[in-house]
Symmetry: C2
Subunit: 383 residues, 2 copies
């Protein structure tokens, strides 16, 4: 088992009727005024917005609203948020939404202290501090509610890159799984596939390390079961709760304890796809990339891939398990090929080049450090 | 799934050659002088003491040593520690040892701010603050290294009781599993049984909640495998590491997420036994009490006990699984009856009365709130 540090200071308040606690939690940090960051307006329809502002009012916390975070959040909008925060003496960010909203909240919180936010993505400056971040989660997927990472798209340079830093852990995150009852089906599924992919990024790099390998398998199987249940009844609280907490454990440090930091090639490749095609949901892109990557890479760490084939799908070889994974995703209505995403074969070189840009600042993949040709091949298999 | 809060701020540094980091971690908190708290001297034999003081020196941190924490730590020794801290302007506590040393460190850290430490155990005062606590763990068992609890024996009143509070989370804990290579076999086993018992306290109260029930099963099976391996080779790093991290997850919040807070009757009953018989290791007492309690209580939450019988032992009824559990413990050389502990049948009423004292401040058990007769019966089954 590899040495590791586990240090996750986020306070998670989990369960039904917990959103009303957010104001009090912000007040405990002594804040008087926050930026309420949100997406396209779904929180006004499902009652979350009303619960949040009632709690802020009750605890005498002022807020300024900033709407319009996109599903793949963009640099220009984050920069606009930083400007609003600076001009209004705002002391913290309250993200009300899914991973995109929380990621942009982190960018604004860190960017407040930087001359140029994007320099942090280019690794030209380090993130040493950030305004305090609070979240009310509306889609279980990214674990941004309990991790120190954020992904943002620089829409001028076609780069979908990430940042990380201890200051980016939210102070308090509220997860009420019942507010996800009314999510569109695709969002539930793509969220689950994102969480599954986080676990797999860590798991496939392992060499059987315990207890983490077994915990990861338990999480994968539970996410499968939750989605199968929600496909029949989207208002099954038990399944929503199991999915929500599994998605947290997928990237809050537990699923990777003692492993090797994760491979992350699939995430990097997917970010290349959705940088070019922002209409592609992150989870949809991962559903396409992961099976192709497993086919391409599995012989390099065969025992762990075989363990996965056996313990998750009861299969005796990896190729059969990949088919089972694709079948599972397809049964949920998810795409499993670039073709399913309406991406043409001609676009593959452009996507590969977009992915390859990130090699300027870091390697791509760990089980194998991928070069341009590897990426090109994986995209071809994914076609 | 029940609502819950997960908030565990302890930084865990896990792995080989990590003890040298302790001085730097203390220095980051701005401390200049700590109490180095320890037990009977084993840390001088296994090299841990030398590594710790070298790290303190390197980071210019003064320390005063206070030795002699007993395996079941006692109030008089903790009070002496509080006096030393007050008289020497000590700013934090560094526990170097197992759960007993860490528990007493927490008592000293909290007691520094109290007129009378024992009042916190009697629930007459709340623990609102504590000196910062740092730990270097030498036995994986209690998870005191990443939890907010402490157990202490009031040797005048024959009470082995507990306290808890957010201020009692250690700031930083260092877990180097390799320093446990030279532990006496019984200590390894009793530590593992303590960890298993923590998981079972939560698990048996559950009603199949996921992902926690599956994670708990993964942890139980991994602890079994680790001990089986260590019985053959006590220097198997992989097994030590799996055991150490499983013991942390057993009580750092993960094994109980979304469950109902745990039953804790077995722990309370065991504390009654070792209050009268301080020579009985906590893990040994739990090995005796748990099987008896399962036999007495299982029909009140049968589906979860049956799930345990099936998923852990492949048995179709609980009674058979209890036999398997006792067999497993016996194969490790652990006691499975009061007789094995050299406790006579005549002592059962006194032990039951000692357990019963705690009913003054809280109920005993949750699946069933036990009365005096229940406790008496369980002890008889355990005989």
């Amino acid at each position: 088992m590899q040495n590791f540090v586990f240090h996750n200071p986020t306070k998670v308040i989990f369960g039904t009727n917990t959103i009303s606690k957010i104001g009090k939690e912000i007040e405990k940090f002594g804040l008087k005024k926050v930026l309420l960051l949100a997406g396209g307006g779904s929180i006004k329809k499902n009652g979350v917005y009303d619960q949040v502002v009632a709690s802020l009012k009750e605890n005498h916390i002022e807020w300024i609203e900033f709407w319009g975070v996109r599903p793949n959040p963009v640099l220009s909008h984050a920069n606009e948020g930083i400007r609003i925060v600076r001009e209004n003496n705002i002391e913290g960010i309250l993200a009300v939404g899914g991973g995109s909203v929380i990621d942009e909240a982190k960018c604004i919180a860190a960017g407040f202290y930087l001359d140029n936010l994007w320099q942090a993505f280019e690794r030209e400056v380090e993130i040493e501090k950030a305004l305090p971040i609070f979240t009310v989660l509306t889609i279980s997927a990214t674990c941004s509610e309990m991790d120190p990472y954020a992904v943002l798209t620089n829409e001028i340079e076609n780069k979908k890159w990430n940042i990380g830093g201890f200051a980016l852990y939210p102070k308090v995150s509220i997860i009420d799984p019942s507010i996800q009852f009314t999510l569109p089906w695709e969002q539930t599924v793509y969220g689950a596939i994102d969480a599954l992919s986080h676990i797999m990024e860590f798991y496939f790099q392992a060499k059987g390390e315990e207890p983490t390998s077994s915990i990861d398998e338990a999480l994968i199987l539970n996410i499968f079961r939750s989605i199968d249940t929600l496909q029949k009844n989207p208002k099954d609280y038990y399944a929503r709760a199991s999915l929500s907490w599994s998605a947290v454990l997928a990237l809050n440090g537990i699923s990777g304890s003692g492993l090797y930091g994760g491979d992350w090639a699939c995430h990097t490749i997917e970010h290349g796809i959705s940088a070019i095609h922002p209409e592609v949901a992150h989870g949809a892109g991962l559903a396409v990339v992961f099976p192709a990557w497993i086919k391409y890479i599995h012989t390099l760490n065969e025992p762990q891939f075989l363990r996965w084939a056996r313990n998750i799908f009861g299969k005796e070889n990896v190729e059969s398990a990949v088919l089972s994974l694709k079948e599972k995703y397809r049964s949920w209505g998810a795409p499993v090929s670039l073709r399913d995403l309406n991406i043409s074969k001609q676009e593959i070189p452009l996507i590969a080049e977009t992915v390859w840009k990130v090699s300027k600042i870091r390697t791509i993949g760990a089980i194998k450090e991928l070069d341009y040709n590897d990426i090109y091949e994986i995209l071809n298999i994914a076609y």
